[in-house]
C-alpha cells in the first residue's frame, strides 16, 4: 500500500510518532546552578555530535494579538549579537563543516547544530552568546518578516490542507492559545514589531528556561565542564513565571465545519477530539490513547483500514493520530478519504459506525501483542539514531515531563491492556469535544 498519500502530508507530519525509548545507560543528566537542565546521550560510533538547546516557550506562550512572534524571533536569532555579525553563527558552523537550523512549535523553540565531535566548545560559545546578547535592528525585523510571510505562503496559503487544518484547530480550542497557528495569523505577523520580539526574548531566553541536549561522540564530564563555563555563567531570569496558558472551559458542543477551495482535488474528513496529554507521573491514559491510535488507524492492519479499505471499499485511506507530547490538552484525530463515488456524508457515517463497532468488539489481543513487539523492537532500532533519542528528551522536558517520565514510558506502554484502550476510547471519542471538518472541492464558479 502506498501510505503517504500526498493530500495527507500535512497531517502526517504533525502526528509525531512516539519512538522507542533509549537504553538508560546511554543517557546522563545534570542541572547547572542557574537552573539549566543538561542531557547527554552518548554514541561513539562516529566522531560527530549534535548540540541542541530547547527553550520552554513556543507559540502558545505568546501574548494575545502577536501570534507568530515566537517563530519570528527564532528566525531573528541568526542575526547579530554583541559578539557576532548577522549570519556569523551559521557561517561559522558551515565553515566548520556543520549544519545548523532551528524550529518552533506550540510548546518549545529549539536550535541545533550537527558538527564534528571536537567542535562542541565553539557551538556552546556561540549558542550561549545569542541566549542573551542578541542585537536587533528595525531593518532586521522588516526583512525577516517578509521572509516569514513567504514561509507562510509556502506552507499555508499555497496549501488548502494547511488552511483547513488552521481552521479546524481554531475551532477545536475555544480559549487555549493552541488554537492559533505556530507561524501566526497573517494580519498579526505583518504587524509584529521590534518591541514585540524583544519583549518575548527578554522574558524567555534564559538558562532556567532551557534544556541543553548534546548527543553523539561526547563525554558527559567534558559536556558538564564546558556547559558550566559557557552557560553556567549566565544568570537565571528571576522573573520567569510558571507556564500558565488560558485553559479550555468544559467543551459541551460538537462542532462541524465545511471548507471549500478550488485547489482541492480529493475531498476528505478530519475529526478531532480534545484529548488528555502525557503528564508527569500520570501517563497511563496517554499510553492507552497512543495504542488506540495505532490499533484504530496505524496502518494496513488497523481496525479502520480493515473495515473501510479491505472489508469494503468505502475509503482509499484512513488513519488515526495521537501525539501526547504537549504541555496542555492535545487532540486525537481521525481521517477518512472516501473512495470514488462515496460521499462525505457516507464516509463519515461509515467511520463513526466502524469506531462504534470497534468499541463494542474490543481489542484483538493478537494485534495488541504485535504492536507491543514492534515497540520493543523500536528500542533497538532507536539506538541507531541517538539524535532522535536526544530530541525525544528535549521535547519531553519542554512539555512538562521529566527524565523519569521518558524512561518509564516504554514500560507503561507495555502494561496497557485492551480494556484500558477501550475505556480510553469511550472517555475521549465523545461528540461534545469534537470538531468534524469536511474538506471540499469548490463548486464550479463562472467568471
Amino acid at each position: 500500500m502506498i501510505r503517504a498519500l500526498t493530500i495527507l502530508g500535512v497531517m502526517l507530519a504533525t502526528a509525531l510518532p512516539v519512538f522507542a525509548q533509549s537504553n538508560k545507560e546511554l543517557v546522563t543528566s545534570f542541572k547547572l546552578e542557574n537552573g539549566m537542565q543538561v542531557i547527554v546521550v552518548e554514541d561513539h560510533r562516529a566522531p560527530v555530535l549534535q548540540h541542541m538547546i530547547w527553550y520552554r516557550n513556543g507559540s502558545a506562550d505568546e501574548p494575545h494579538g502577536v501570534s507568530g512572534v515566537a517563530h519570528l524571533l527564532e528566525h531573528l536569532m541568526f542575526k547579530a549579537t554583541d559578539n557576532m555579525e548577522s549570519g556569523e553563527l551559521s557561517a561559522t558552523v558551515a565553515a566548520n563543516g556543520g549544519r545548523d537550523n532551528a524550529f518552533t512549535s506550540y510548546d518549545y523553540t529549539a536550535y541545533f547544530q550537527r558538527v564534528a565531535a571536537d567542535r562542541l566548545e565553539l557551538m556552546m560559545r556561540m549558542e550561549s552568546d545569542r541566549m542573551v546578547n542578541l542585537r536587533l535592528t528595525p531593518e532586521n525585523i522588516q526583512t525577516e518578516r517578509d521572509v516569514v510571510l513567504e514561509e507562510r505562503n509556502s506552507r499555508v496559503e499555497n496549501n488548502p490542507r494547511a488552511l483547513f487544518g488552521e481552521q479546524m484547530n481554531a475551532i477545536q480550542y475555544y480559549n487555549h492559545t493552541y488554537g492559533r497557528p505556530v507561524i501566526g495569523w497573517r494580519r498579526e505577523v505583518e504587524e509584529l514589531s521590534l518591541e514585540n520580539v524583544l519583549a518575548f526574548y527578554r522574558t524567555y531566553y534564559a538558562p532556567n528556561n532551557a534544556t541543553l541536549v548534546v548527543s553523539g561522540d561526547v563525554d558527559p564530564e567534558q559536556v558538564r565542564a564546558l556547559a558550566e563555563q559557557y552557560y553556567g555563567v549566565i544568570p537565571a531570569n528571576p522573573d520567569l513565571r510558571e507556564r500558565a496558558r488560558p485553559q479550555e472551559p468544559p467543551q459541551t458542543a460538537a462542532r462541524r465545519m465545511t471548507f471549500k477551495d478550488a485547489r482541492v482535488a480529493q475531498p476528505y474528513i478530519n475529526r478531532s477530539y480534545l484529548a488528555p496529554e502525557r503528564n508527569t507521573g500520570d501517563q497511563e491514559q496517554a499510553a492507552a490513547l497512543y495504542l488506540l491510535a495505532e490499533i484504530l488507524g496505524g496502518g494496513t492492519t488497523s481496525y479502520l483500514a480493515e473495515q473501510l479499505q479491505f472489508e469494503n471499499q468505502t475509503a482509499v485511506y484512513t488513519g488515526a493520530f495521537y501525539s501526547g507530547q504537549s504541555l496542555d490538552p492535545t487532540t486525537f484525530d481521525m481521517v477518512i478519504v472516501p473512495a470514488e463515488g462515496v460521499t462525505l456524508e457516507q464516509a463519515e457515517t461509515a467511520m463513526d459506525d466502524a469506531v462504534a463497532g470497534f468499541i463494542k468488539a474490543g481489542v484483538d489481543p493478537e494485534q495488541l501483542d504485535r504492536i507491543k513487539m514492534q515497540l520493543r523492537a523500536s528500542q533497538i532500532y532507536a539506538r541507531d539514531n541517538v539524535d532522535g533519542i536526544a530530541n525525544r528528551y528535549g521535547r519531553a522536558l519542554s512539555t512538562g515531563l521529566t527524565i523519569k517520565d521518558v524512561q518509564d514510558w516504554p514500560d507503561i506502554l507495555q502494561a496497557v491492556t485492551g480494556e484500558q484502550i477501550i475505556a480510553a476510547a469511550r472517555d475521549v471519542l465523545i461528540p461534545e469535544t469534537s470538531v468534524t471538518g469536511w474538506m471540499m472541492r469548490q463548486e464550479e464558479v463562472s467568471q
Binding site: M1, I2, L5, I7, R45, A46, P47, V48, F78, N83, M84, G87, S90, A91, T92, A94, A95, N96, G97, R99, R114, A116, D118, R119, L122, R125, M126, D129, T143, D146, V148, L149, E150, N153, E157, N158, A262, R263, A265, Q266, G299, T300, T301, E306, F310, Q313, V316, A339, E340, E366, Q367, R370, I371, M373, Q374, A377, S378, R383, N385, D387
Partner: protein
Amino acid sequence: MRGFITLITVLFMAFPALAEVKIKQVTSPGGITAWLVMDQSIPFTALELRFRGGTSLDAPGKRGAIHLMTGLLEEGAGDLKARPYARELEALAASFGYDSSSDSVSVSARFLSENRDQALALLRDTLLAPRFDQEAIDRVRAQVISSLKSAEKDPDEIAAATYRRLAFGDHPYGSSGSGTISSVTALTRDDMIAAHKAVFARDRLYVGAVGDITEQELGTLLDNLLLDLPETGAPFPGPAEYNLSGGVTVVDFDTPQSVAVFSQRGIERDDDDFFAAYVLNQVLGGGSFESRLMTEVREKRGLTYGVYSYLSPRDLVATYRGGVSSANDRIAEAIKVIGEEWAKMAENGMTQKELDDAKTYLTGAYPLRFDGNARIAGILVGMQMQDLPIDYITTRNAKVEAVTLDDVNRVAAELLDPEGLRFVVVGRPEGLETTAD
C-alpha cells in the same frame, strides 16, 4: 567574539579523520556482489537493494505500471494475502520499504538479528512471488489515482510536470513515473507481472548491507534472497535529449504564491570537472544559508523563504536545476535576481575566500552523512551505481580540496549559461509573461 576567526583556523587542522567506514566487498558463493559495513553494536541489519532502470523501464502505453507494481509489493506474497502478510511483517518487527524513481527501484529492509531468517524468508517471497491480487491492485490503484488528482492542483507538482514535459518530451524523463489517470486506470494484472519482470533482475542489481551481519552470513543471505531472480530484465532506454532554451514559461494557476523551478544543461558525474562544478554550486545556490542566492534573494531582500540550486546528473541526462517560491507580486524580482547572480558568477567567478569556505564546508560535512545503518547502506549502493571505487570515501575529500580557483572559475564560465536558463513559473505572477515554450 571576533576571536572565533583564529579559533577556527586552529580547529581546521585538528579536524578528525573521517568516520571510519570499513567497507568490504562480499561475493556470495552464487556470484552476487555486495558491499558490507559490519557494525555489531546494535542487533539489527539495514539492507539496501537497488535495481537500475526504475520507472523509465515502463513499457510503451503502460506509464505508471512500475510505480504501481512497486506499491503492490507489500500487498501480499506467496501464500499470504495482503492482510496476513502485513500481520506477519508486524509480528517480526521488520520493515521493508519500496520506492521507485526514474533511475531505480529500491528496496530498503531493516530486520532484527533475533529473527533475521524469518524476515528474509518473507522478503524473498516478496521479491520472487508477489501476489498481485486483483483486489489489491484495485485498492492501491485508487490511492495512486487519488494522488494523481491532487497533483493536478498542486503548484509544486504542476511546475515539476511542466518542466519535465518541456525538457524531455516523449522520453521517459518527460513524464511522471506515477503515470496519468488514464494510463493507470487501464493497467491490468498482466501489466504488473510484466513490470515486475522488467525491473527485478540480477544484471542491474546493487546491494549494500550495514549492521550486525558477518561476511559469511551475508553471502548466504544474498544467494537465498536473490539468486533465483532472472538474469536480465527490460532493456534500458537511450539518453534523454534536453530541449529547453532560456526564457520564462508561465502556467496560470490561482494561488497566492508563485512556485518557480529553473534549469539549464548540467554536467555528468564522471566528468573531470564534476568536483569543480559541485563546489561552484555550493557557493552559488547549494543548500546552506551562505550561498549567493540565499544571501541575495532571502537575507537581503526577504523575497523568499527558500531558494536553492543543485546539479542533477541522472543516468540518462545531466541538468543543473533550482527552485524558488515568492508571492505573485514579488516572484518577478526574485527571478531577476537569480538571473543576475547566475550571470555574475559566469562572468566574474568567485573569490578565493568563497572557494575556501565552500571546501571547508563540503569536506567537514561529508562525515556527517554516515549517521545510521540505513543511511550508510544507501550510500554504499549509490557509490556502486556511480561506479565509484570501494575506497572512494577516503579519497573524496581530497578531490574537493584539489579544486583550484582557476578550475572553479573556468567551469563557472563554461557551465553557467544565463541565456539558457529556463524558468517555469506556476501561479499568477505579476510582470512575468511566457517568452519560451
